[in-house]
Symmetry: C2
Subunit: 390 residues, 2 copies
Amino acid sequence: MTSIENLQQQIKILEQQLAEATLNNVGVPVREKIKQMSSEVVGTNPYSRLLALQRMGIVKNYQNIQSMTVAVVGVGGVGSVTAEMLTRCGIGKLVLFDYDKVELANMNRLFFQPHQVGQSKVEAAAKTLRFINPDVEIEIYNYNITTVDHFDEFINTIKTSSINKGPVDLLLSCVDNFEARMAINTACNELNQIWFESGVSENAISGHIQFIIPGVTACFACAPPLVVASNIDEKTLKRDGVCAASLPTTMGIVAGFLVQNTLKYLLEFGTVSHYLGYNAMQDFFPTMNLKPNTNCNDRFCRKRQEEFASKPKLEYCEECIEEKPLHEDNEWGICLIDESVPEDTNTKKYVAEGLVQAYDLPNKNIDFESHAIDTCDQSLEELMSKMKSL
Amino acid sequence: MTSIENLQQQIKILEQQLAEATLNNVGVPVREKIKQMSSEVVGTNPYSRLLALQRMGIVKNYQNIQSMTVAVVGVGGVGSVTAEMLTRCGIGKLVLFDYDKVELANMNRLFFQPHQVGQSKVEAAAKTLRFINPDVEIEIYNYNITTVDHFDEFINTIKTSSINKGPVDLLLSCVDNFEARMAINTACNELNQIWFESGVSENAISGHIQFIIPGVTACFACAPPLVVASNIDEKTLKRDGVCAASLPTTMGIVAGFLVQNTLKYLLEFGTVSHYLGYNAMQDFFPTMNLKPNTNCNDRFCRKRQEEFASKPKLEYCEECIEEKPLHEDNEWGICLIDESVPEDTNTKKYVAEGLVQAYDLPNKNIDFESHAIDTCDQSLEELMSKMKSL
């Protein structure tokens, strides 16, 4: 028998629990959407500190960010923080790809919280991001981009998902395995899509970002960075009762570098790094510029190189200084940056202890001499803005 | 009149609402406390990826972190992310200080969410952090450390708040104004408390961390870094309808550097950076070592220097190379690192455009020649471990 007092008591308890739960996270946006970013200096303006970048002369037109679309592939330790940073910066639209679920084992990195365990990463991320900033449009894809069907869908999404239904403005690779990186590389070369590759080593103490303009800078197949470590992802590793180490610090720093360079590229300020490494043990930050490999295995990479070579030469080129490969005494004349050992330049030992090379160099007969280091930082920036204006 | 059906209907609706709210954020820890960190590789183990650091030979005994206490002063753009990273790493105890409230204008940085607007920063942070990792003990102080009364309480808290009621293992300064930095500096010199200073420039595009061992490395009064910019905090700036710019990227990166070096110091791996700068425009990372100023205005700094000088010389000292000041042609012979301009070493112009010097150098008659740069990185690390074992 249910008495009225009994039911009323139940209601009281539920109301209390609801009030408590609501206090922690209401789950619905706290504020209305903002159409026009304001620079007004009041505590209620979520964009005042960003618009201040304009007043301080860092950025010419911060509001441009509202028309930009960025695709983030992989919403794990690096990708989730990347998406959150872009969301808080007021990016126009984010397109997120992942097929994994949140686990308690992810809690040693930023972003995901324990109550999201079991949810798909893209769904959990979208909910949090929309709550943090309702102005950002979030589109999610919960599939593995490396399977044949999904790869085609992925390509199609990248080329049609911007706010005005065109290609995304930038793609950020935040995946944790070699196969997915190669899939992204193939797609971006085919689509002529500018993107950043990123990665964190298996032992959690080094990472990198790499800026890839198809045909202009080295693609992932031209010269993959070492920090991919081994060709297996976390899942494969786990099956053997072994897992990759990870730290919220290293992943947060790599996400920070990635989004900072994304902002520099999209909003046209500062110098976009072509390759920026991070070694946590010594706080060492290797940088370099890599030209594409004329014998790259990816045919679209070679096609983009030909297209780029046939373009009229711009004045910036005269300033370029062609340098010899850094390690011309090594077997291939290729420059592999060892992120873990800044000083000891033993040419025989590219790979730091605990790391293995991402993959074997495809063909030793390839003329890697042509794969010289480009030292002309500014030129590429100028070129980019010129390419944009074409 | 309340019918039973009516009440049952109400209960149904409340249960639905509660389920919805709970799905977003239950507000109570999802898991039980874990006493002993396990290295077991299962998705339900929040520490598997951290314990992997041991298996990979990076850290000797990761579990040591459970006995450590870190104080974080300032829970804003840098401090909140710092606290979250340490929480996710499973630090034993965090002691948080701040007297500010969460505003929508903070939403362009990581950590705080819109539903927390109006809450005190330390309370909002504690709630989120306890929810993320119930194993971490969180103690909060909601006051301004620079007022006379609170300064005494602050000193007392720092020296008694560790897990075993002793001084904290490390203090991290994440404040946004000169006065608070000086208060922390005074307290740490008096207490002989090892700490890190951190800062982000007013234009949001540079930042730094500085490791301070009283009497051994330069304190904040010996040589404050430039990026403190102006001696006014965000609040003062706002009154004039002007505010400092900020970015989630720069602040996330500085927090990452801070916690990474905290982990290296607490868990004894890698090399702790004494000064690490970050310039976002060129991805440039200045580093240096600064010896304390024998004529520092802080009497406890001078006292700690005397104590250190009177200690028996350790063999590491023989390896030290005393170098000339970097800018010996400038007026004071002091080395001020200009984080914004890596190449142009105009000795007249220490300060980058848009920045002003943190404060005037106290006394030009001071013998800054003795304030030489210490180039012996390793030695300080060795010394620290020796000091610990004493």
